[in-house]
Symmetry: C2
Subunit: 337 residues, 2 copies
DNA sequence: GTGCCGTGTGGAAACGTTTCCACATTCTTC
DNA sequence: GAAGAATGTGGAAACGTTTCCACACGGCAC
C-alpha cells in the first residue's frame, strides 16, 4: 500500500547545479533566457541524478501537458481498436502523446458513472483535451476541450465525429432489396446513441419508401455486441418463417449472427444473407458485406478537431460527418421468390 | 494554448458547505471522523456544484490512485492489442482502472527516450504501478512497482513476464525438420530484447543438435515488424537457391513474408512453408502455423504480478514464464528432396 | 473535580512544479 | 555617456489536494 518512493525533484537538481529552481525549470522547458553554460551544467546534473518530471505537479501548475486523453469503454472491442489507430496516427503528426483511460468493460456495473467521473478527472488533471468514444453517460461537466465519437441522444450537439449512419444503412438495405430480399431481420444497436437511432430510422424508412410492410417480429433490439447478435440471431432464425437476410447494426453483432446461423445449420450466404456495419478488419476475413464507416478516419479526424479546440481556433464544423461506403463481399446472395 | 478552465475546487465546496477543507476531504475519501449530518450536507454541496477531484493534485499528495499504467510503443500492433486484452481482464477483477500511455509508434524518432521518460513520469505521478511492454529503452530509474513484458537484454532481471521463447522455437523448427525441410530461412527480431535473442539461439541450436550446417545467407536480422518481414522475405526468396521454409520471429513479420511470397509468385504452402510466432488473432484467418505464446495471458499475469508488487507482498517469482504451444495450421507442407 | 479517551472539526504545512516579479548585468543606440 | 532594451538569474506565490496537528467538547473512571 505504502509507496516509499522518494524521487529526485527539481529542487535537488537546482541545489546540485548551484542554481535556482526557476533556472532548472527554464532549462527543462527550453523557454526563457538561460546561458549556454548554465544550460549545459544543469543538463548534466539532470542526467546524473536521473531526474524525471513529475507530471502531476507539472500539469497542476502549468495547464499544458501535450497529452491527449482518450476515454473508451472497452479496449478490447474492434471498433475501439480501429479508432485508436486513427487517434494514434494523428497524435504522431501533432507531436502529442496519448493517454488512454478505460475501465475495461462497457458492461462493468458502474461503468457509466466511472466514465463520466474520469472525463472530468482526466480533463482537469492531466490531459489538454479528451476524446470520448461512445458517450454512454448522458451527462458530464462541460469542461473544456472534449470531442466525442458518436453522440449521446440526449446531447445531440458537438463537437463530435459521426458517420452518415442513415445513408449507410439505406444503401445496405437497398442492396438487399436489389438482391430480391423482402424478409429482412434487423438487430438494433444501443438506443442511447445517435448511431443506434439513426440506423434504425434508416431501416424503417427504407421499407416505408419501398412500400413494403415492416414486420415487428423481425426487428429486435440489440446493443452492438457479439452476444446480443448471437442471441437475436438465434431468435430470428428460430421463427416459423425466418428472414432470408439479416442486417446487424454492427459487425460484432454480425459475428454473433454467424455463430447463431452456424449452430442452427444455416449456411451463409446460401440460406441466409448477412450485412453488418463498421467494416472492422475481421470483416474482410469473414467475407462480410458491411457498411464501412472508416473508423480509423473517425479517430484521426476527431483528434485533429480536438487539437484545434485546444488551440482555441474554434473548429469550423461542430459535427464532422464521415461518409460511409458499402463494401460488398460474399455474405449476401440473390434471393428468388 | 491557454486553458481558461476554472473548475470547482475542494475549497469552493468547503466554503459553500460552511466547513473546513479537511472535512470535505474526509467526506470524499470516507476516512476519519465526520458526523452523519456534516457528511450529508457536504455530499449535497458536492453534487450541486458538480465538483470533480483533481487527479493531479490528489496523486501528488496522496500517492494512491487505484490506477495501473500500461506503457506501450504502439497501440496499433496486434501483439500489444492482445496484451491489452489480458491487462483489461485483470484490472476488472482487481477493481482498478487502466491508463495507457503510448507515443504512437515504435519507430518515432525519439521513441525510446520518451518511453523511458514516461515510465518515471507515469509512475511517480499518476499510477500506482506500471507495466512496460517491450522495454526497448535499456535503462530507466528504478522507481517503484514496475513489471515488464519481455525483457531488455541489458536488464535481464525481473519482475517480468516472458514466454518460453527457446522451447517454442525449438518445437517449431523440429516441426519443419520433421516435414523434411532443411533449407530454412530465419528472419530475426529485435536483438535488444530477450525474446529476439532467445529465438535466434534456439534456431541455431536446433541446427547444431541436428548436425545440420547453418547457412549465413538464410539468417537475416529483423525487427518484429511487417515491413522488415516483407523486405527480408523478398531477399530470401530472391536467392539463387531460396529456402523451402521460413521461420519468422513473429507473426507480423510472417505477414510480411506472405506479402513478399505473393509478389514473387511463391504459393504458400506449396512452394514455401511459413512459421510465425505469437499466434495473433489474424494468424487463424491466415492459416498460419505459429507458436502461441498466450499473449492475453501474459498481460493478465503481468497485471496480477504488478498488483502484488503494489501491495508489497513480493511476488513469489521474479520472472513468470508462460509456456508456449505450437499451433499447426495450413502454412506448412512436407518437402520432398 | 481532575485526567483521559473518543469523537468531531478547522488551520496550515507539504507535495513538485511553473510563472510572476524583481534585480543584475551587458549591449545598443542616440 | 546616459537611457533603455536584451539577457540572465533567483525568490516566492500559486496550483488543489491530503494529512498532521491542535483544539474543543462530552463522558467516564478514579
Amino acid at each position: 500500500m505504502a509507496r516509499t518512493r522518494r524521487s529526485v525533484t527539481i529542487i535537488d537538481v537546482a541545489k546540485a547545479a548551484g542554481v535556482g529552481v526557476s533556472t532548472v525549470s527554464r532549462v527543462i522547458n527550453n523557454k526563457g533566457y538561460v546561458s549556454e553554460e548554465t544550460h549545459q551544467r544543469v543538463s548534466e546534473v539532470i542526467d546524473d541524478l536521473g531526474y524525471a518530471q513529475n507530471l502531476a505537479a507539472r500539469s497542476m501548475r502549468s495547464q499544458q501537458t501535450n497529452l491527449i486523453g482518450l476515454i473508451m469503454p472497452d479496449v478490447t472491442d474492434p471498433f475501439c481498436i480501429e479508432l485508436m489507430r486513427g487517434v494514434s496516427r494523428a497524435i504522431i503528426e501533432l507531436d502529442y502523446d496519448l493517454i488512454i483511460y478505460t475501465n475495461g468493460d462497457i458492461r462493468r456495473n458502474d461503468s457509466n458513472t466511472r466514465m463520466q467521473q474520469y472525463v472530468s478527472i482526466l480533463n482537469s488533471s492531466v490531459a489538454d483535451g479528451v476524446i470520448i468514444v461512445i458517450p454512454l453517460a448522458d451527462d458530464f461537466p462541460p469542461v473544456s476541450p472534449v470531442v466525442s465519437i458518436d453522440l449521446n441522444i440526449n446531447h445531440p450537439s458537438g463537437p463530435a465525429v459521426i458517420a452518415t449512419n442513415y445513408q449507410g444503412v439505406r444503401e445496405a438495405i437497398d442492396h438487399l432489396f436489389e438482391l430480391g430480399h423482402r424478409r429482412i431481420g434487423y438487430i438494433g444497436g444501443r438506443m442511447e446513441l445517435m448511431s443506434g437511432v439513426q440506423r434504425q430510422k434508416a431501416f424503417e424508412d427504407a421499407f416505408k419508401e419501398a412500400g413494403l410492410p415492416l414486420d415487428d417480429r423481425l426487428m429486435l433490439p440489440g446493443e452492438f455486441t457479439f452476444s446480443a447478435g448471437y442471441q437475436r440471431g438465434l431468435e430470428l432464425l428460430s421463427l416459423d418463417e425466418p428472414p432470408t437476410a439479416i442486417f446487424a447494426s454492427n459487425d460484432q453483432a454480425a459475428k454473433g449472427v454467424y455463430q447463431a446461423a452456424s449452430e442452427l445449420g444455416f449456411r451463409i450466404p446460401d440460406d441466409l444473407s448477412v450485412v453488418g456495419f463498421d467494416n472492422i478488419p475481421e470483416a474482410a476475413y469473414m467475407g462480410l458485406t458491411t457498411v464501412d464507416q472508416h473508423v480509423e478516419q473517425m479517430g484521426y479526424m476527431g483528434t485533429k478537431m480536438l487539437y484545434r479546440l485546444i488551440q482555441e481556433d474554434d473548429p469550423e464544423e461542430d459535427i464532422y460527418q464521415i461518409e460511409t461506403t458499402l463494401v460488398v463481399r460474399g455474405s449476401c446472395q440473390p434471393f428468388d421468390h
